[in-house]
């Protein structure tokens, strides 16, 4: 079956051990997590996980159902790249003398839309935000021309193209349900 890169978005309560509960579901199926990013969501007390994984549609559907089933998970979704706006951030540490030897640092910054975060007499740290291919292209160019002292890339963060905020819809229905329970 055809595999694809899927982005799994998970909203959860902020309880300890949540990450483990999620990752063991991938482990059990021998699915390799490509990227992972965790942070508080826009809603207080709710955390958001963004995970990318290369697998089949059948497999991702089952995985998402199993994640969604966990008691502390509010909701899990999967999307393909077509449904999403997504970015990764990469940091590059370069030797200051080497970067000066490039001639025009300005050209580099303009061409790649790079930001300078830190400059010392020995090294310069630059940042680039973009798709994986873009941060990778810059890495490869720098590596082959002046060498990269250190390189780090974040996991993907993603937001859906559709206007509807799915979580807020869901929370609204939960609130409705809570009210009904209280009346009962």
């Amino acid at each position: 079956m055809e595999t694809k890169l899927y982005t799994v978005t998970i909203f959860s309560e902020n309880t300890p051990g949540l990450l483990n509960q999620i990752t063991i579901i991938f482990t059990r199926r021998q699915l390799n997590i490509e990227t992972l990013s965790v942070s508080p969501s826009a809603i207080k007390g709710i955390h958001k996980f963004t995970i990318t994984v290369e697998t089949t549609l059948d497999s991702i559907q089952k995985v998402v159902k199993q994640i969604d089933k966990r008691v502390d998970i509010l909701k899990a979704y999967y999307n393909t790249d077509d449904d999403l706006i997504y970015q990764e951030i990469a940091l590059y540490k370069l030797a200051t003398d080497k970067i000066l030897s490039l001639g025009s640092i300005e050209a580099l910054i303009r061409r790649y839309n790079v930001r300078i975060l830190d400059i010392t007499p020995t090294c310069v740290v630059i940042e680039k935000t973009g798709l994986y291919e873009e941060t990778q292209e810059l890495f490869e160019e720098l590596q082959s021309s002046i060498g990269v002292l250190q390189f780090i890339r974040s996991g993907r963060v993603a937001i859906t193209k559709s206007k509807v905020e799915r979580l807020s819809d869901m929370l609204a229905s939960i609130d409705e349900c809570t009210k009904r329970k209280q009346i009962d």
Partner: protein, 565 residues
């Protein structure tokens, strides 16, 4: 004014009472002593059953939960006690049994220091529980216990672990009872679109050859009556999964027998002939379906389940009816046309006859040769007027018991289905007898499984439980030996067993027993077993190379049925 503060241990017991708990299985130890100290003051209100091993405590709690429909409760200590409990927790997870297992844990300040008998219980149990939580402060107890019971019993039931740090057991707290019937991130019964019922009913009404598969969801949902009304109205033949047995009486006219690897011929053949397959509270386990690429491809599938993750997991569904079958079944029944499928139902007969001639007759009514497992089980079922609770271990004894034990009453089949845990039998029978003391409990074990939890005979002795135990002894790990015979060139690697004198062991535990080796004395032995209400061990030395047939070899189509010579 608030009452006097109490310790976390007392708060735990009060919280359990608040959930209606009156029976606990377990084993004490260092990191849980304060809880046992508190229990000492509640002996009149809570029956505490000391098993001989923590695995036994969990299986006993499972047996108790399965016969009673209540949540089974275990209290054990930390470290090795928690790891011993893992098998029962895993078993309860895969067989959807509501358990709350409370494990002791070292004090919170020692967590992560490799303290004595410290182990990461939450980390270990997360994959095999619905919820696993560490209580580190006495203030969390009432909340955690209420939540644990709600999670364990709601929706698709399952095990919950509460890992109870010693400092929280000792710390003082102003205890206030808490209740839980809602968790915002947890939807135990999924929402359903009302149109689905009509879709399902239309499909069934249009069916010429409908066929229902009955799983444990019917028993868990206490929907036995609703199932019967459903099947009766549209005249649908039905077959059961291992855990779905006893949801319908054996002699019910639409009960066509067992599904799967050692199931009846008719149900397996008809799976691949029906036009609408209605799965009711079952999960298409591989032991039921065999090769999925050749499973019911001709049929439209209606899948009724409370767990939405089961939909399309193994078999693609035409109509998914989410929810408790207790409510979804009658909703569909109302929309059904009263029909009959006489010809279709009668088409099972040919297979029943074939199976009787090729398998059942020689297994249950042999004229000569060694005693057969099937005949022992038939005779004992008969002796109980088919009203007993059947508990089995795992292996040939289990498949034979499922095939030949008969049922008139619901909630009467206790077995380890999904995990297939050898050693489940004795402790599960203990729990079953404690949960249903007025009923006869018959346990069938092999000689292998009996020895895996043989120490629980001590629990039977101490609690004076009148369990009727039968060892079907062939001096082999029979099911493995069967596979070795059929698929591994009769190379009986590590399956021959030198066995102890089981009767002498039973007697040492003050349990009466009798060993039977010839057919003539079998009836007398059974009579002796049921002569009074006390525990009894009947060891029947059966045919050494007995085989369970029919058999659908693993991974092949359900229509590929071996019948033996």
């Amino acid at each position: 004014m608030s009452k006097k503060p109490i310790s976390g241990s007392y708060a735990l017991i009060e919280s359990l009472l608040n959930e209606g708990v009156d029976t606990i299985f377990g084993y004490p130890g260092g990191a849980i002593i304060p809880v046992f100290d508190a229990l000492y003051d509640y002996y009149e209100r809570i029956r505490y059953i000391l098993t001989r091993h923590e695995q036994g405590a969990t299986h006993a709690a499972q047996g108790y939960a399965r016969v009673s429909g209540k949540v089974g409760v275990c209290i054990v200590t930390s470290g090795p006690a928690a790891t011993n409990a893992i098998t029962g927790i895993g078993d309860a997870m895969i067989d959807s049994t509501p358990l709350v297992v409370i494990t002791g844990q070292v004090s919170a300040n020692l967590l992560g220091t490799d303290a004595f008998q410290e182990i990461d219980v939450v980390g270990i149990t997360q994959p095999i529980t619905k919820w696993s939580y560490q209580i580190r402060r006495p203030e969390e107890i009432a909340w955690a216990v209420a939540r644990a019971f709600y999670i364990a019993k709601s929706g698709r039931p399952g095990p919950v672990v509460l890992d109870f740090a010693k400092n929280a057991q000792l710390g003082l707290i102003d205890y206030k009872p808490e209740f839980c019937n809602f968790i915002r991130s947890y939807l135990p019964v999924p929402n359903i679109d009302e149109n689905i019922f009509k879709k399902a009913a239309d499909l069934i009404n249009s069916a010429k050859k409908p066929f229902a598969l009955v799983g444990q969801g019917v028993t868990i949902g206490q929907a036995e009556d609703e199932l019967k009304e459903f099947l009766d109205k549209a005249d649908i033949p039905a077959a059961w999964t291992l855990l779905g047995e006893s949801a319908m009486p054996t002699d019910y006219r639409l009960n066509k027998g067992m599904l799967g690897m050692h199931g009846n011929i008719g149900p397996n053949i008809k799976t691949n002939e029906c036009d609408v397959l209605i799965a009711i509270g079952m999960r298409f386990d591989d032991r039921v379906t065999g090769d999925l690429t050749n499973y019911a491809k001709q049929a439209k599938v209606i899948h009724m389940d409370i767990d939405s993750a089961e939909i399309d997991k193994n078999v693609k569904t035409s109509v998914a009816v989410l929810g408790n079958v207790k409510t979804t079944l009658p909703t569909i029944t109302k929309l059904l046309k009263k029909t009959n499928h006489k010809e279709w139902i009668e088409s099972f007969k040919e297979h029943e006859e074939q199976e009787y001639q090729n398998v059942i007759k020689s297994e249950t009514e042999p004229a000569e040769g060694a005693i057969k497992m099937g005949e022992v089980i038939s005779k004992i079922s008969e002796a109980c007027r088919h009203e007993a609770i059947l508990v089995t271990d795992v292996g040939q004894n289990q498949m034979m018991a499922a095939r030949y034990f008969k049922f008139k009453k619901k909630r009467s089949m206790i077995t380890s289905g999904g995990l297939g845990t050898m050693g489940f039998g004795i402790p599960a029978a203990i729990g079953a007898k404690v949960g249903a003391p007025e009923r006869t409990v018959c346990l069938f074990c092999g000689d292998g499984g009996f020895q895996m939890t043989i120490q629980e005979l001590g629990t039977i002795m101490q609690e004076n439980l009148g369990i009727k135990m039968v060892i079907l002894n062939n001096n082999y790990l029979g099911m493995v030996r069967q596979w070795q015979e059929l698929f591994h060139g009769k190379r009986y690697s590590s399956t021959l067993m030198a066995n102890p004198d089981f009767i002498a062991i039973a007697n040492a535990y003050k349990i009466k027993g009798k060993e039977i080796s010839d057919r003539e004395s079998l009836d007398e032995g059974i009579k002796e077993m049921f002569a009074d209400d006390s525990a009894f061990l009947l060891v029947v030395n059966v045919e050494q190379f007995g085989l369970v047939y029919p058999m659908v070899p693993a991974g092949t189509a359900v229509t590929n049925i071996l019948l033996g010579e």
